[in-house]
Symmetry: C2
Subunit: 342 residues, 2 copies
């Protein structure tokens, strides 16, 4: 089969790879329905996170089960499944507490930008849908694997409740789906921070009530103006830079909550500033597996349509263009079709 492999900065190749097989008895192999490019793929793509060897890319996936190992109990060939970007046994104490993305057996997935994918710990990582879903639902189901689950975690970690005032830092796909999540959780006011017309439009469609174009201190000042000068109840930090984290902390009211899901790169927090900010801080790799059953229901019932974040759809063999378009911010998020159809 042919799949995407990253060789170095801005060097994504679509090349022959071994077809995955069952290696451990707890594995499954799935046929990918759709794959996509994640904002976090751009860190190594841009050379900010070093690549030491050619690396099969892609960790967001859904598809049909082809084969399972002999110890797999709950997942069966022919089922349509959505899985987390982080594997989990879903039974250790950490999983029981709902932090499957820190499972004692966790592995981070890769190689999903391919026609087939081996998924370790299939029983604890994959969630089947009741039936094989219709084609139009695939993009939304795919987002649950990471980007939507991560936006949801950001809102949950930021304690969004009915009536909350929420600010979202970052207008990438995660930030936009953070807006959608906050809306779904009943937020009254949702301030999206974005200076891109197409992203502002989608943010509004997802439930943003206000747009702030300013960044940094000016952005904080605007949030303060809009919140009786105290800051937002909940702030979703969906970028992972020093500037975005500082902006998030300074935009939160004393006693408010920050959910941070942008993988921090070069971020350092000053203990004393954090102390006197009086904020709650929680984040990390999203425990997608915890949320999958609920989010699958919301998609199947038509309550949410997170697949709208895909504004570029390409056949899988054009994966390199998919990265380029996101790197240059021409696309919010790229959907990749292994079968080459639109």
């Amino acid at each position: 089969m042919r799949g995407a492999v990253l060789y170095g900065p801005r060097d994504v190749r679509f090349e022959e790879r071994d077809e995955p097989k069952i290696i451990k008895p707890t594995d499954a192999v799935i046929r990918i329905s759709s794959a996509c490019v994640c904002g976090s793929d751009l860190w190594p793509y841009r050379g900010i996170q070093p690549i030491v060897q050619p690396t099969p890319m892609g960790h967001e996936y859904c598809g049909t089960v082809e084969a399972v190992g002999r110890e797999v109990r709950n997942i069966k060939p022919g089922q349509f499944v959505v899985g987390s970007f982080a594997t989990s046994d879903n039974s250790c104490i950490i999983c029981q507490h709902g932090y499957q993305s820190s499972c004692v057996q966790r592995e981070f997935m890769s190689g999903a930008q391919s026609p087939f994918l081996r998924v370790p710990l299939a029983d604890g990582t994959l969630v089947p849908t009741p039936d094989v879903p219709s084609e139009d639902l695939i993009p939304s189901l795919l987002t649950l694997s990471d980007v939507m689950g991560t936006g949801w975690f950001a809102a949950d970690a930021a304690n969004v409740k009915p009536g909350s005032t929420v600010a979202v830092v970052g207008d990438g796909a995660v930030g936009l789906l953070g807006v959608l999540s906050a809306k779904q959780m009943g937020a009254k006011r949702i301030i999206a921070m974005s200076r891109h017309a197409s992203r502002q439009k989608l943010a509004r469609e997802f439930g943003a009530t206000d747009i702030v174009e300013e960044r940094g201190e000016a952005g904080v000042e605007r949030i303060k103006e809009m919140t009786k000068r105290i800051g937002a109840d909940s702030v979703l930090e969906c970028v992972g830079t020093q500037e975005s984290m500082t902006q998030a902390i300074n935009s939160t009211r004393p006693g408010g909550y920050i959910g941070y899901v942008g993988v921090p790169h070069g971020v350092s927090l000053d203990g004393e500033q954090l102390f006197f900010s009086h904020v709650h801080l929680h984040g990390g790799p999203a425990p997608v597996r915890r949320y999958l059953p609920e989010l699958i229901k919301l998609v199947l019932n038509g309550k949410i349509n997170p697949g709208k974040v895909f504004d570029l759809s390409l056949p899988l063999d054009q994966v390199a263009e998919g990265y380029r378009a996101m790197d240059e911010r021409r696309a919010i998020k790229t959907l990749l079709r292994p079968n080459g159809t639109k």
Copy 2:
């Protein structure tokens, strides 16, 4: 009157000061029943926090109201009151959210190591007891002003619940009262980190089920051994150094909670490490005013006896010895009696 004034590192003088008067119509003046030395007083005492001019010391206080300004409604002369180390109007939006120690009108108190004290925003800062309490309850009531309120906030911020496993970093008075707070909140297992026999003894008396003498990585390793290798549900950070904060983060299970109340000095948190630790982080200056009504009840009903942290009682004019004893860790906490009696 004569009170304690800090001139520079290890230079506390007991000297003549102006007797406080009502300055603003929202002030009260109280006659101090007992005062004490706070662990945070040791930062400037040790020169770690610079002193630019002679500074009247002391921010923990309780006593009898002598006079009130013309706009004070709820506090009356003759009442016995306990107040927070941070003033608050107890009515702004931040106060309404329970973060009175970040009130828009907040001032940090000082000058309580004196016979009389002016308290701004008396209505929002002071809480009267139903009657004038008996002498033996004064030390416990005094602790509510800061050290006990701070230990309580640490446990609350660390989400201590019935059945929780809790670790407490720091065996100063705040850490010890964090143990007492965790016990009161129903923690099942409370691990106190201490290598001082007298403090270990008090920790056990307050409810610690285990003592860990190791620090740093060895301390973390012991906590892991005691918690099925995942870490504690709740960790109270009651010191404020890089080492103690790192120890707290590494001792908490993924998804667990850290309440940090030691004022951070030179602490820097690595964003990526914090992200992958998956902990909840909350802390800051304790919103003592929020807890005062409940804690006063617990003291008056004999449910808690936090005054036991005072293991040295001195007449106020020996305040310098009170600082020395704490600095040299000969005393956990010094009680100061303005009238000179034991």
